[in-house]
Symmetry: C2
Subunit: 344 residues, 2 copies
Amino acid sequence: MTPRSAKPRPAPTIYDVARVAGVAPSTVSRAFSRPDRVNADTAERIRAIAAELGYRTNPLARALPTGHTSMIAVSSSDITNPYYFEIIRGAQAAANERGYTTLLADSQESVRLEREALERAIPTVEGILLASTRMSDSAIRMTAKQRPLIVVNRDVTDVPTVVTDHAMSVRQSLDHLVELGHRRFTYLAGPEAAWANGMRWRSLRTYAAEHGLQVRRLGPYPPTVTGGVRAAEDFRAHRTTAVIAYNDLVGIGFMKRLISLGARLPRDVSVVGFDNIFACELVTPGLTTVAPPLRTLGSMAVHNLLALIGGAHATTAQPPTLPTRLYVRESTDVPATRKRAWAV
Amino acid sequence: MTPRSAKPRPAPTIYDVARVAGVAPSTVSRAFSRPDRVNADTAERIRAIAAELGYRTNPLARALPTGHTSMIAVSSSDITNPYYFEIIRGAQAAANERGYTTLLADSQESVRLEREALERAIPTVEGILLASTRMSDSAIRMTAKQRPLIVVNRDVTDVPTVVTDHAMSVRQSLDHLVELGHRRFTYLAGPEAAWANGMRWRSLRTYAAEHGLQVRRLGPYPPTVTGGVRAAEDFRAHRTTAVIAYNDLVGIGFMKRLISLGARLPRDVSVVGFDNIFACELVTPGLTTVAPPLRTLGSMAVHNLLALIGGAHATTAQPPTLPTRLYVRESTDVPATRKRAWAV
DNA sequence: GTGAAAGCGCTAACAG
DNA sequence: CTGTTAGCGCTTTCAC
């Protein structure tokens, strides 16, 4: 009465197919792995018989002699982070399209777990995609020696990468704010160590210098809602009409706190974030933000990884830099012209 | 000048280790697979030499003779759905703990992709975990014949499952609302086909009957923010002081629309959702909700799957039903006693 | 306790 | 074009 879930009846092999087809096992093998090297008719016949017998190539057995497992590892420090799944999904889709299966390694922010997961995965995969990693540059270079590897949104010397065009993202949000009439900006900085933070701040200053604008910096803050709340406290002493947050979470925390302090958004302050996380359209007002090309980042990374696996040389030239897109919601507007708008 | 990412120097094998250790390859093999069947000292020596040589057991080669790949497939219809990654993560963690690697199959809501991904994965995995699937019951039973399989939060006859305690979740939210003083409720229904929807509505009616409460049902609505917005429109003609939404997304859309119509929440209406997605604490007011035991669901599923793989019989008895937890935020309060509180 | 030898299912020369 | 023959790296009887 208790149903067994598995019925381990041994699967048919090329030998079984060969026998009933009256050919050598190697011919069956060829019929599947290099159909061009076998007579079209026999190939067809073999396929038919195989189908009838329910034969399916065994990827494990195939991988042993060839080393070609058709699997890549995708490592993420936190699949729970709304920022990463689109990358993962883009990677997945691209991999599947090319006949590859992805092995997911979520390290839950733990370097140890990440190492362990990779350790375990490496022997079975043909390449590695680091979607977000907590590993050190040198550790990354180390593993890059074991397998073709590509890293997303991080700059590691001698390791191929695919990155977001941060300069463009900053330009998009500032163009938008300037067009609305803003001239003075505050940047709510993220973690000093974050590569994106440096990139954004630098681009911001460059842009400001070129356009004769004022830009001030507050922080650093943790890249979280709480970080944004703290930023709002600090902001009260250093007002500007527009604010650029390190990311959406900070932007949301910032808005939330400001509103609870009595500010009216976007009339009193315009806010823009980065990342375009799902919550941007759920909060009130909806957060204007710049979306990184997540999906493309993932698929491009896989594309390049597969090229690497195929024997391409990693180029030291400029890594692919993918364009971003601005999503205008309700958190940005023309600056309030009324004198003394919002008093704490 | 162009660094190769892979340095395919052949990895050391048991033969290499055996040679320098002066033992037979089979002994090296045993030292790793059944250390108890080998002299403790030689085992130790072998391990030392192996470490020195950088030898690592090759899971592929090991899998061929044994069929033991140490991999399970986790299939999700949508990794992008905030509801699922915690399940996936719980599964991941549990699997890793037991030495298993997870192969992620995101089907992006496409039955075809899901089938393909599973098709590809099946030969290499020892078991399958359906975290969320669009497959039909019979398709599920079909694949359950090929590999040990377990499904999460879905009721499929003859297939082992792990589910959320829906009755409990309803009880928790209603206990909370009743305690606040509410007596009349509206349920914003989700998709008719959703198993959870049926469970919730049924539990709701039972509870209401037992406690002499009134409960009305609106919908069905799509399980999205937009669905919630539509629900809010309908609600205007059928007010109650408290509302139970099919899920958080619906609850959030509902609140958003009501507020834009001039309602003051939670004074005019108390709202509770289900799922406890991340956005619940980002919206204003924060959404009171019931959290399913996502992580546990995932780990419990893996636990049971591994047992199945180990040869346990699937029991037809009650599947594990995991307890939920209520998170009280700002969207619930005592009902407004003032007459004619909110007029559209 | 350890070695020898025979595969696991498939691919890849090498002949024919 | 197709059959023969070795392996891929590891596990596993079966003797010693």
